[in-house]
């Protein structure tokens, strides 16, 4: 009986199995909002929030803003549409976009580096044409903390006052001439908001070499932040707040080393030493790397010239051909506005620390999720790895910062968006999926 049964059905069973081959089933990921409601998300901030990159605000850069990336993920857990004030110009709203290209320097040497992207940026006055629709992304390039609560920040007339009281980017989507960024953001009736502001309160000072701006006072900053957060949470909205990364760690300040004057011939060394009084001014040179000579009215030798010290920062905007062929940093001092000196670095760090204390305590007191962007920046300094991609804060090759050395690449934005999402998940018990960093472009090499 058994033998008969087996001989009949065993071969059949074998054939059936061969046909049944199929792949394992994967369960779909189920996102949950936790105790938050993402149906109406608005983002507030500055150029980082707007999706500014490579020295300009342009169409694809906006689509890769960290706010837009977050909104895309919130959609897995009840998030609605996220409208950005789209710049319909890949060359930029205002001029300034850079790309990687081959540039020839004053010595006739060609190398890969940032060059003007060219094209046809919209430019003024076309750039301030109102978009004509309500937006979710209230990121305004150039905005400082107190700008977000300033009425008239989107008033076209304010573009031409001295000093300027309006911002061209906000003029594009302000609902009226008298409104403020926060007022418009509240008018959208958000259920959830993100806020990353304060960078420019120290950055504009820093990128002007401490010469063209002042750091926002702690009182003004605290007042502005209280105003923003109290307003945004008044209607019961939940949100996420990020602190300010140490701006002195960004490539803008760390690409040209303080001792970037390279001398290769003894004759050069001797001539320079002689010219500076053979050491009497505290300025000396040797073969190899030397600290640049800069202008500093308060130099200890009393002649308004000194050499840079370790820890002092040279701005990325320093014209390199003036170093190579114009005698800058050796025969002539580099102007102070290309340098963030020891005292200026100290002032920036102190202000950043104070602002970050305010941001953290406000987020805590209002029960908001908190992103430690400063800690992330510190981690990035020692290198990051995601899915086989290596990142660092190195200019161009580091992959996080775009060609302007200040703003993020799409991949940099994706990493930041994931930090926001992690903070939201932790605070509100949500399970918003992270994005794959590799889904976003890096710096494009020619």
């Amino acid at each position: 009986m058994k033998k008969n049964f087996l001989s009949k059905y065993f071969p059949l069973l074998l054939m059936l199995l061969v046909v049944a081959a199929c792949e394992p089933k994967v369960d779909e990921f189920k996102a949950t909002p936790g105790s938050a409601d993402f149906s109406k998300y608005v983002s507030l901030g500055n150029s980082l929030t707007a999706g500014y990159a490579d020295g300009a605000l342009y169409t694809s850069g906006q689509s890769y803003s960290y706010a837009n990336i977050i909104a895309g993920q919130l959609a897995y857990a009840g998030g609605g549409d996220f409208v950005q004030p789209v710049v319909t110009n890949e060359d930029g709203l205002l001029a300034g976009k850079m790309k990687l290209g081959i540039a020839t320097n004053c010595l006739g040497v060609s190398s890969l580096g940032p060059v003007p992207a060219g094209g046809s940026p919209t430019g003024l006055p076309g750039a301030v044409t109102p978009v004509g629709y309500a937006v979710n992304n209230f990121g305004v390039p150039g905005a400082k903390s107190y700008h977000l609560v300033a009425p008239g920040f989107g008033d076209p007339a304010g573009l031409f006052t001295v000093p300027q009281t309006a911002n061209p980017y906000f003029v594009r989507f302000a609902s009226s001439a008298t409104t403020s960024v926060v007022a418009d953001a509240m008018a959208a009736n958000p259920t959830f908001f993100s806020l990353w502001i304060g960078n420019n309160d120290v950055l504009v000072y820093s990128t002007s070499g401490g010469a063209g701006d002042v750091i926002t006072s702690q009182d003004l900053f605290t007042g502005a932040l209280n105003g923003i957060i109290n307003t945004m949470t008044a209607g019961g909205a939940k949100g996420v707040v990020a602190n300010i990364p140490d701006v002195t760690s960004i490539p803008f300040f760390n690409t040209i080393p303080y001792n970037g004057l390279v001398l290769t011939e003894q004759a050069q060394v001797d001539a320079l030493n002689q010219a500076y009084g053979s050491g009497l001014l505290g300025i000396s040179f040797q073969l190899g790397q030397n600290p640049f000579v800069i202008a500093d009215a308060t130099s200890p030798n009393g002649v308004g010239i000194r050499q840079l010290k370790a820890g002092e920062l040279v701005l990325l905007t320093l014209p390199q051909d003036s170093i190579r062929c114009g005698g800058w940093g050796s025969q002539k001092p580099i102007p102070g506005f290309y340098i963030l000196d020891e005292a200026e670095v100290g002032a920036v760090k102190a202000a950043t620390s104070g602002f970050n204390n305010t941001l953290k305590s406000l987020a805590e007191s209002k029960g908001l999720a908190f992103v430690d962007a400063n800690a992330f920046m510190a981690e990035a300094k020692s290198g990051l790895v995601y899915d086989g991609m290596k990142f660092s804060v190195t200019y161009v090759t580091g992959g996080i910062f775009s060609l302007d050395g200040v703003h993020l690449t799409p991949r940099g934005n994706a990493i930041v968006a994931n930090h926001f999402i992690e903070a939201i998940n932790e605070k509100y018990g949500a399970t918003i999926p992270l994005v794959n960093v590799g889904d976003y472009p890096g710096i494009v090499f020619p």
């Binding site: 069973l13 199995l17 990921f29 790895v385 086989g388 999926p433 992270l434 590799g438 890096g442």
Partner: protein
């Protein structure tokens, strides 16, 4: 002449394959596959040359030929570490391991033969755009072993045998590089081949008519590939960092195996057997790519693997229904040799549970048509490749129907 043509035709079919722990493949005889891949204590036919050369001289016929193929359909799924909505499934090409054995009794005590088979391989494709593309996109490993074998029966209770292994191997690996050009990611392809030597030696003991015990050792083979092609596709401005026609030297170790098998003929119809298969995987410590021309962007790459030695436990049996038909069943547990923290999607080897069925149909006395089916469940597990910060949950399913012929006379 005819035989060599058949052999060439089979060789032409060969693609890579993977299924057992790591990149070891155990598909070397349809009868053994049907019984949970036991074989060390069996002396069924010429296939003993692989499973235990000692068993060859215990085979009854004067001449034995066996050939077969086992097309592998395998799927591995990857679900990225939560919270993530990302998942991917491999689109592996059909793998076709094969074997060919020919053996003859020279005297009653001495037998000789040649085994050609494919004990190691891997054929994997995750696609060009998947999230782990900077670790691996496609990989093909193929090793073909040629093993001339001698076996000597000392007496009716004990026989020994050994074979020299001439192993040929080929590899071809493609992965994306995280440098973006106008056309997207850059990529690198590494491909090369080599031939190395090893050995296979075993002892078979039959203390009683019904009981059979076998021990077999197959040496490791270090596949040293020198001067393999390293072809980089990168944006023009980075060409200097990735020399276009670079060369690379690497070593892929094929681990040693120590097998112990015991089988018992319970009655005329029923035989059962147990196999223990210890694989010396710890030889696979790192995968090193030593490039002929290094640049600041292209240092030599040392990728930790840190495999562990593993014991595979197998159980199987055969039930003879009639002179013309025998059926088989078996199963095994094959724990993953891959370190959970160094689990690369290039060899997504999980803890495997294998279930097998098989049958032989003998239309005439000398010829046996052998069929088998192996189903492998790669048990769901969370794995990381820490150096690249890439991880998630992997799961796999493998379906291997096998077809073979045995001709004894």
């Amino acid at each position: 002449m005819r035989k060599s043509i058949v052999l060439l035709a089979i060789l032409a079919l060969v693609a890579g394959y993977t299924f057992a722990g790591g990149y070891q493949v155990g598909l070397h005889g349809q009868k053994q596959i049907g019984m949970g891949l036991i074989g060390t204590s069996l002396s069924l036919d010429a296939s003993s040359m692989f499973y235990n050369p000692g068993g060859l001289s215990f085979m009854k016929p004067s001449f034995s030929f066996a050939a077969g193929i086992s097309p592998i359909r395998s799927f591995t799924t990857f679900t990225k570490t939560a919270p993530s909505a990302y998942n991917a499934t491999t689109d592996n090409p059909l793998g076709t391991p094969f074997y060919f054995y020919g053996a003859a009794k020279i005297t009653d005590k001495l037998s000789a033969g040649l085994a050609v088979n494919t004990p190691y391989g891997n054929s994997l494709s995750w696609g060009n755009s998947w999230d782990g593309r900077y670790l691996i996109q496609e990989l093909s490993l193929r090793a073909i072993f040629f093993q001339p074998t001698l076996s000597y029966k000392i007496n009716d209770m004990i026989a020994i045998g050994a074979g020299l292994v001439y192993a040929t191997g080929k590899f071809d690996l493609t992965k994306a590089l995280p440098v973006t050009g106008a056309n997207g990611d850059g990529s690198v392809n590494l491909s090369g081949s080599t031939a190395e030597l090893g050995f296979n030696a075993g002892v078979m003991v039959k203390p009683t008519e019904a009981l059979s015990i076998g021990v077999d050792f197959r040496s490791k083979v270090m596949m040293d590939v020198e001067g393999a092609d390293a072809t980089f596709t990168v944006p023009a401005s980075l060409a200097g960092n990735f020399p276009a026609s670079n060369k690379v030297t690497t070593t892929l170790p094929l681990p040693a195996n120590l097998d112990l098998g015991v089988s018992y003929q319970i009655n005329e119809d029923l035989m059962i057997g147990l196999g223990l298969n210890y694989v010396f995987w710890s030889v696979y410590d790192s995968l090193i790519f030593d490039f002929e021309t290094n640049t600041p962007a292209l240092p030599d790459s040392r990728n930790p693997r840190q495999y562990d030695n593993k014991l595979i436990v197998r159980l199987g049996g055969e039930y003879t229904i009639s002179d013309k038909l025998a059926v088989r069943a078996g199963g095994y547990y094959d724990p993953s040799p891959v370190n959970k923290e160094f689990f690369s999607p290039e060899t997504p080897s999980l803890n495997n549970l294998g279930l097998t069925l098989g049958l032989s149909y003998m239309p005439v006395e000398k010829l046996s048509i052998d069929l088998s089916f192996l189903y492998i469940m790669g048990m769901e597990g969370e794995r990381q490749y820490t150096p690249d910060n890439f991880g998630g949950t992997y799961e796999s399913r493998v379906y291997i129907p096998g077809f073979g012929l045995t001709y004894n006379f």
